[in-house]
Symmetry: C2
Subunit: 387 residues, 2 copies
């Protein structure tokens, strides 16, 4: 039930015929209060979709009553008409729920450049059905299904506190790997009684070490949105530290679900960078390695080609001596102090889960980047996709 | 005859059995003078191969008498033993030619981590044969063949000046696309009478707008080297501007030969960025677009997915308004002022040559980045390669 697990929330997922398959494609999540605290983070891409431009303004006052999400079209680079579509969608939801449009987040996902009159009409015509279908029971699962694009299954997660509050979340997207850049949308709900300021701090802390560290294919989306809504319906003021930890656990759970469902991938690769001079350095190194097509193609072929790890990290300006570092692949130290280490034949890359451990021998900071391999299926799905 | 076209040069390409195929794998280029002016540029990767570390020192005094190059092993991340191998190779060449080892450039290409005793012995044992085979006639072609790894054919080019001097060049590597990061090696010769300072200026000017703008797969090598040697044997002091223009033309010719032979590629993509605020901005934008796996997979599928162009350039900090720009693909303006433009069905992506024109509408600077598409063959060749 994901987003409807915390008290005070209803959700729905209905068919607006945006998807050619006829599957659910319009989701609605409503916060019935008593509080409507909220926070959100968005793509840092300068090429922002219209719903992102709208939602960034909506969440500024820390109050969100509802989130409407569609798959089947990103409404990005669709000009003034596209922005008006987003606005009209928020107005339609507000009208049906007797709330303010300025408290309605809008999220879209699908192909960039899609957002014409037909697209608009389908959404606006279906909003009443989405409101009518709102439910605190089946609505969560329906909503999680409605935001799927090329996901093979819905992604949901729940965390419960002994203190009496809970967090629920749903996500869509195959990491950054999704074709058409129709990528990551996440809605998280909680019935803890928390101010927007606390939500914002907790959400940024949680996403920084979870969603921000998934880098399936280096392609940043125009539509990424992670929204967190608090109803306060549990009547419990959550301890901020405990809440942030639970939220981080939930975000990590969803982030790893995205990685495991990344399009075309045959390996889930955790790039663990340790003993870096700073956490930033560890992230920079991990991200550079995660973006090496040569390394990712080698992992696809079960080839522990550690030279490609070193060539990738050599392109960064992080603090380390390239001839001092160790690299282990699935537990075998194939490179020791910048020279060939243990026999690479000992590395077993047949499991889907793969760990590349990079010891920079420079300090005590660390970070993990989650990525995927580069496969024939990735090329195929991203060369053929157009809807 | 490439590198032996200018007067004053001999070359050879022989078999050291570094390649399992038994093909030529050891090349030698010798400058017989009267001058031995030289300049070189190297990979900016901090993870540098031993031959690069050696050659950076050799070229510092502007004098180079010979270049020895091997395929079949990159001698990178092979530690102190590997560096000694490079040094011993230079000494062996110097001894045979009665020159100083400090005037011998060494270049290696092949798999990272390869450079053991067997590798060393094969090279040192074959140096006398390479010297014995030196020739001003067939030697150029033999040398161009000996530096090939996964190249499907040798790359050579010649420029001749009416003033009486010429430039010859050979290159190996499939852009940055070469598996094992056994990438770009280039040797250029001229019989113009020029100082090392002039050669250095001309070489940096030429490579900046040619080799530096090939970005097949975003992977920077550990062994890249471009060396320029002048014999002065024509007796003509070349005009620096004319020489730089001819050198740039030759480098562009070789760079485009690399792109056209890029592993697994089915499209040669020119990303032309115009009306940028600065040339740096144009390069940054072109490079970001050239590194979008999603775009490159779309081109492979003959899909003019312009949304992926916009999503990629939105990740840069170059000066432009993402909602103002135009994008044309093979002459069809598919995105006009940040909105859908002409019908994408009009774009014909079936030819191998593909041009993506991005008009930033910000200034008058421009730059072109040459890249390739992301194909099944790229994934296959880079997942399977190990020699």
């Amino acid at each position: 039930m994901s987003v409807t697990r915390p008290a005070g929330f209803r959700a729905s997922g209905v068919v607006a015929r945006l998807k050619s398959t006829g599957a659910r494609d319009l989701a609605l999540v409503v916060n019935d209060g008593p509080r409507r605290s909220a926070a959100a983070v968005f793509t840092s891409n300068r090429a922002k979709a219209n719903p992102v431009i709208w939602s960034e303004q909506v969440v500024k006052d820390g109050t969100v009553s509802a989130v409407i999400l569609n798959s089947g079209g990103a409404n990005c680079f669709t000009g003034a008409f596209g922005f008006q579509t987003t606005h009209a969608t928020a107005e339609a939801v507000a009208s049906e729920l007797a709330i303010s449009a300025s408290d309605v987040l809008v999220c879209s996902t699908g192909l960039i450049g899609v957002g014409d009159q037909v697209f608009r009409d389908k959404i606006l015509d279906t909003v009443p059905a989405a409101v009518a279908a709102l439910s605190a029971e089946s609505g969560g699962a329906d909503a999680a299904a409605a935001i799927m694009t090329t996901d093979t299954h819905p992604k949901e997660a729940v965390e419960e506190s002994p203190a009496g509050w809970s967090i629920g979340g749903m996500a869509k997207g195959a990491g950054m790997l999704a074709p058409g850049l129709a990528t990551m949308l996440v809605v998280i709900t909680t019935d803890a009684d928390l101010d927007p300021d606390v939500l914002d701090r907790a959400l940024r802390a949680a996403t920084r070490v979870t969603f921000d560290r998934v880098d399936s294919d280096g392609c940043m989306s125009t539509n990424d949105t992670v929204a967190l809504l608090a109803s306060g319906a549990s009547g419990v003021v959550a301890d901020e530290t405990e809440f942030t930890e639970a939220l981080t656990a939930l975000c990590r759970d969803l982030a790893l679900q995205l990685q495991r469902d990344a399009e075309g991938a045959s390996h889930d690769i955790a790039i663990e960078v340790v003993n870096a001079a700073s956490e930033d350095d560890a992230v920079v190194v991990g991200r550079a390695v995660s973006r090496s097509n040569l390394l990712k193609a080698a992992i696809f072929g079960n080839d522990p080609n550690w030279g490609r790890v070193l060539a990738a990290l050599g392109t960064t300006d992080a603090a380390f001596d390239p001839y001092a570092i160790d690299v282990s692949m699935n537990g075998v130290m194939v490179c020791r102090a910048g020279e060939p280490g243990d026999d690479r034949e000992l590395v077993d890359l047949t499991p889907r889960a793969c760990t590349i451990l990079i010891d920079l021998k420079e300090g005590d900071a660390s970070a993990t980047i989650w990525t995927n391999d580069l496969t024939h299926d990735y090329v195929h799905e991203n060369s053929a996709y157009a809807s």
